[in-house]
């Protein structure tokens, strides 16, 4: 019984993440950056630690001129990424955002 309940909880969480990503994609496509940020933020609550998610977050914050949060997002992207290209991208964005 316990296993069934656990399985239901896992599949519910997994489906919710899928749904959040789909919503975030649609919001990004239509240019609703604040809505996309909300869905991405909700997906992070479900412990999704993908550096690319932080990259999108950084790009959105830059698009809406939120420099402080963009720096935080790019720093997180740099922290969680193992990919050389992505790390380089993070450094370029952090460098540009540090210029007044």
């Amino acid at each position: 019984m316990k296993k069934i309940i656990l399985l239901i909880i896992i599949s519910f969480t997994y489906c919710q993440t899928n749904d959040l990503f789909l919503k975030a994609s649609l919001a990004l496509k239509s240019g609703h950056y604040n809505d996309a940020l909300k869905h991405i933020s909700d997906s992070k609550k479900q412990k999704v630690m993908n550096p690319e998610i932080y990259k999108i977050e950084g790009l959105i914050y830059e698009a809406i001129n939120d420099r402080v949060n963009a720096i935080i997002a790019w720093k997180n992207c740099l922290k969680f990424s193992n990919d050389k290209k992505l790390k380089e991208e993070c450094k370029i964005h952090l460098n540009n955002l540090s210029i007044e």
């Binding site: 997994y14 993440t17 899928n18 749904d19 990503f21 789909l22 975030a24 994609s25 990004l28 496509k29 950056y33 999704v48 993908n50 690319e52 998610i53 999108i56 790009l59 959105i60 830059e62 698009a63 991208e89 450094k91 370029i92 964005h93 952090l94 460098n95 540009n96 540090s98 210029i99």
Partner: protein, 205 residues
Amino acid sequence: MNKIPLTFILFFYFSCFYQPAINKNYNFKNVNSIEVLPIDDFKNIIGSGNMIETSLDYNFLKYNFELSDKKNKKSILIDNFSEQTLLLSCVITNYTESESLIIPYRDENRGYTETTVNQSREEDEESNKRQFLASSTTKTYAGDIVQGSRIEYSQSRISLIFTLKDKVSGKIVWSKSSWYNGLDLQKTINMCLKESVNEIKKILK
């Protein structure tokens, strides 16, 4: 307290990143003006050069440079009495208005290895010797990747190469390449130019 040296290291690290190439023998303090050469369009993207040029004007003005546009000759005027003139050229090496990207969400289980070691001691009655027996079992459990949903979005990408050349001698005295990506093309161009204009400001100080 520990944050201060860390901030200093990070600042130093980022300030060294994508450094421009510079002729150290050239005296930039004697520069009176910089003539901005027309920027050619990238491949067949009509208007791309013009867009970069306009954004370049905006960035120079933002950094308190004085601009003049006499007889279709655009110049940046620097307040000093010398007569050296530099020529600023820009080549667009990448101008992608929109490229679609897909980020798959993967949950990776790397698996694990389990090793069991058994040890026993036996005594040989004939020789009256003690023996140690050891055996080990290793089981490797394979991992798996669960492919989940994905995020789709589109981004712009701009790459530029700037060069400063002395008008009289024809010597190239400064060069810098930069690239940037973002969700919005105009913002991406501005951010890409911002860094280079800031570098030009630094050398002229």
